[in-house]
Symmetry: C2
Subunit: 368 residues, 2 copies
Amino acid sequence: MIAETRTACFDSLTLDCGEALAPVEVAYETYGQLNSARSNAICVCHALTGDAHAAGISHADGKPGWWDSMIGPGKAFDTDKYFVICSNVLGGCRGTTGPSSTNPATGKPYAMAFPVITIPDMVRLQKMLIERLGIERLLAVTGGSMGGMQALQWAAAYPETVVSAIPIATTARHSAQQIAFNEVGRQAIMADLDWNDGNYYDSNPPARGLAVARMVGHITYMSDESMREKFGRRLRDKETFGFDFSVDFEVESYLRYRGTQFVSRFDANSYLYITKAMDYFDLANGAGSLANAFRSGNTRYLAISFTSDWLYPSYQLVEVVQALRSMNRDVAYCELPSNYGHDAFLVDVGEQTEVVRGFLAATFKARA
Amino acid sequence: MIAETRTACFDSLTLDCGEALAPVEVAYETYGQLNSARSNAICVCHALTGDAHAAGISHADGKPGWWDSMIGPGKAFDTDKYFVICSNVLGGCRGTTGPSSTNPATGKPYAMAFPVITIPDMVRLQKMLIERLGIERLLAVTGGSMGGMQALQWAAAYPETVVSAIPIATTARHSAQQIAFNEVGRQAIMADLDWNDGNYYDSNPPARGLAVARMVGHITYMSDESMREKFGRRLRDKETFGFDFSVDFEVESYLRYRGTQFVSRFDANSYLYITKAMDYFDLANGAGSLANAFRSGNTRYLAISFTSDWLYPSYQLVEVVQALRSMNRDVAYCELPSNYGHDAFLVDVGEQTEVVRGFLAATFKARA
């Protein structure tokens, strides 16, 4: 399955902060075929550092999509049955308008002149894309982590459009600890002199700061147990400690590699804007309470969390499920066993596939 | 109780890496009186960023010691009964020889020419100090976190000297996750251009990098729950989000403040050397197994962990307790309930005081 990223362009998008972006581009990919009733479309939302390339092999670079384990013929999101859409988020750096895009007012990159964006802004742009593709209702909206926040936002803001929502490893609002981890990443980037108040597009990017932010992220995506299984206290290319500050342990080498590698594909200012959008997100805001956010529509829900995910612990999604139940919504909740921590929704997809497959088939049968 | 920091000087200390430091200074404080039998001495070991000022009010700056809640008249380490000693660790920056000390070979600070040090090196220097004070046997050696590693090392290396050991919220070896968090801190420091390969003593220290390292540390010292109770999603000095990159949430403000404040009292190179010593530490190394590390002597043990401590989770100290039991050692283990995370040994001392008080009294009666 060869995947190609396309771009849709819109004249303008009004944001929660009051400003408007004009124009706005959205990078997206689709997999499978839209049926004649236009009733089999699924919107997949990506996490902090993902992009539109969710499945198949990229035409551009030959790499598999970030959720290729879940999307494709015969997989959980079965492209023989469903039409799957994934777009790069607003504020991103992989084809959708973000801080690295050209500011039409200046002819230069927006940098920190880019307006602050929110999860609702991201979803508003996705809805414009869906409509452009001729789709009125989504059989499902899904995603893990920040993708799950978008799925919840979709269902709360556009209940008539969303037949079902599958939020995974996510929350309706960040805890102080989640805000704190994001803040450390932002501070690491802004501490790098090369950040230069965001104006680095014609010089060196803040590579060292962004790499440190990514390292912090990676630790929080894994569990204590999965790190032990993957690295333990194994030494890197040596028999004994170096007694110096070169790499001693394999886990050090892994973090440095992942940190450095990340810099080549991600924009530091996008990291700032997107993490801020995650921290601002609070579904109860404006609705009065979390339950009230789900007061209308008859969207069905499948909520999935993982036992070893300490970054988005199950209790956060249980709060969402309780709010949904208090509004008499149709909601199924599964806490799946996994040792992989927050990464489980990406890498430990056996049981996740089973529950998603069944839920989608039943939803399609009942509602499409 | 006014406390004064004194300094002891030694001609030379041979290190695990093979090099020798000459001379070596140790900053230390004492509280209470050594009895005539010299049988009531307790050695308190500090954690990563602590110092010799463990209790009382500092003569120099009027500040209370880092464990003033536990050490003093009528407290857990009752200075009406016991003679308590605390010294700044080797590699530190609070009076004991470390990277910021003058290298006699050059007349300038050691910086990264300081030899790599280990937890056993730290304890070897403490033993020299204890002997200088005329003490042959310690009624107890105790400490939390890295202080607990030193307590375990004391008991393993010098069982005839250590009547009892009270390791708290600690481990016999760092997990991959613990190494990873330390590595992120080191990378944040080394990513700061002001670090300059460690040569910053006559210019600006790497304040931004060290502040980021401290922020990461602070998150790991608290629990998800204690952060929620302390900060929640409360906004800082504003009614609504700023929609900019100033401080929005109280937790952000707290982390930035603690990060910045830390820079004025701690040396970045000491942070590198001490975290590396923690990561190298493995009591099983050289002994063949953890149990073998405790093969001789008849030291009594009280091991304490806390339910919400996810940085040094209870299972790590349970491994130590199992090793001790397998060697038929006298060991009591308490997992105390607390919401304060790793910080519990410093701030949630009610139950800790009770178990320590009883253990010390019984040990003093039986063995002193």
